[in-house]
């Protein structure tokens, strides 16, 4: 139970923690040709999932204290509907919820300590952030020290910077409405799966005094 409580706390923090370690870098005009900008824009768009998919990940979290746990995460993208479940490796469902295209959240199952609306909302928001392209037209720009990338300025929610790295990976910075960074997500080891491209490894970090790391490794990605 302690493990689950810690996990809950971590996941809650993943959506609630506001830290001030990194402010939103200003968008600077990138000295890129229109063709280069379009290439970057397309590579950003390809990062997100299109179509209907069933994704299963192992999710491991670690704390400096040595505590940690591994669970299975199920994500089903069905049109505009996002369905998510967390379960133990042994198969017990801890949490199951569905978010429709209008933003209506329906929690089908939530065992303590996951029976918390903040947890549900935060988890679904993180799932959307990782897998679905933001509802905004990306602007290609030089973003901080990491180079040119795409900035999605989502009205009323904040901003998301998505930056390709020279090694073929991506780093995503998520900012809240106050333009304070809340999450940093590394998307790595892309592999083709039934006409889709998915990162095999996702490293989600919440910086700050209560920092933590969630490591997601894809187990399966199936088109449905």
């Amino acid at each position: 139970m302690k493990v689950l409580v810690v996990l809950l706390a971590l996941l809650l923090l993943s959506s609630c923690t506001g830290n001030t370690l990194r402010a939103l870098p200003e968008s600077l005009p990138a000295e890129l040709s229109p063709e280069q900008k379009e290439t970057i824009r397309q590579s950003c768009a390809r990062l997100f999932v299109a179509g209907d998919w069933q994704l299963v990940h192992s999710i491991t979290f670690n704390l400096d204290s040595g505590h940690g746990a591994t669970v299975l995460g199920v994500t089903v993208l069905d049109g505009a509907i996002v369905k998510t479940a967390l379960m133990t490796v042994e198969g017990f469902v801890l949490f199951e919820a569905e978010l429709d295209g209008a933003g209506q959240l329906e929690v089908a199952k939530a065992l303590p300590p996951f029976d918390n609306i903040n947890f549900a909302e935060g988890l679904m928001r993180d799932v959307k952030t990782i897998f679905l392209e933001p509802a905004a037209v990306p602007v290609v720009a030089a973003l901080g020290l990491e180079g040119a990338g795409c900035r999605y300025d989502v009205a009323g929610e904040g901003a998301i910077d998505l930056i390709p790295t020279p090694g073929g990976s991506f780093v995503m910075h998520v900012y809240d409405r106050e333009f304070t960074e809340t999450l940093s997500i590394d998307l790595d080891s892309f592999a083709g799966q039934q006409s889709g491209m998915f990162p095999e490894k996702i490293l989600l970090r919440a910086p700050g005094m209560r920092g933590y790391t969630l490591k997601m490794t894809v187990i399966s990605a199936e088109k449905i």
Binding site: V3, V74, E96, S220
Partner: protein, 197 residues
């Protein structure tokens, strides 16, 4: 609560494989150890395809158990001499997960003892009812447990008393089925099997 339930079920269910083992002459066999492979399918309403796990377990009387998943995540649950430990393989080595709730150990032992001592019958946690031929259904006594596990269905392998499969129902569209194979009874098992991942 969840860890307790999970531990009770998975440690206890492993013993069900051998709970009423009989020899070829039909006489009851004293269980000293049992090992078997298993394939687990997780079915859930939102899943278009079930999640399939594979593993192996080893039980040694009176209360030592190794429950190991090979895929999709390599984990090992070890129970020995009153301690329960869980390990997850990360980056090529096993890492112990802490906080498993040691109090669950006592409940686990009670369940195992109950299932091994008698037939598949009522325990402090479950009420056993025979259903259609070859099946036994366990229903939780506790309402809190019933919200998580509505029933457990045991499918017997002929008249041998061995379990062919165990299905745990969490809800109408959510269940976990484990199918056992390659069961081996009463082979010698090294103590280290229950102590090291």
């Amino acid at each position: 609560m969840l860890v307790r339930i999970l531990t009770v079920l998975f440690f206890g269910l492993s013993c069900l494989v051998s709970a009423q083992a009989q020899d070829v002459g039909g006489d009851s066999v004293q269980i000293r150890s049992v090992q078997a492979d298993f394939v687990q399918e997780k079915h859930l309403a939102i899943l278009a395809h079930p999640i399939v796990s594979t593993g192996h377990f080893t039980f040694k009387a009176p209360a030592s158990l190794r429950w190991e998943y090979f895929t999709p995540v390599h984990t090992v649950l070890l129970m020995d001499d009153g301690s329960i430990r869980k390990f997850v393989r990360q980056n090529g080595r096993f890492v112990e997960e802490h906080g498993m709730g040691l109090n669950s150990m006592q409940i686990v032992l009670q369940e195992i003892t109950g299932w091994l001592d008698g037939e598949i019958t009522d325990t402090p946690t479950f009420i056993a009812e025979p259903e259609k031929e070859g099946y036994i259904v366990l229903r939780p006594r506790n309402q809190a447990l019933a919200k998580i596990i509505s029933r457990i269905e045991l499918k017997l392998m002929g008249t041998s008393g061995l379990m062919e499969s165990v299905t745990l129902y969490e809800g109408p569209e959510s269940f976990t089925r484990m199918v056992f194979a390659e069961a081996v009874l009463n082979e010698a098992v090294l103590p280290s099997v229950f102590r090291k991942p």
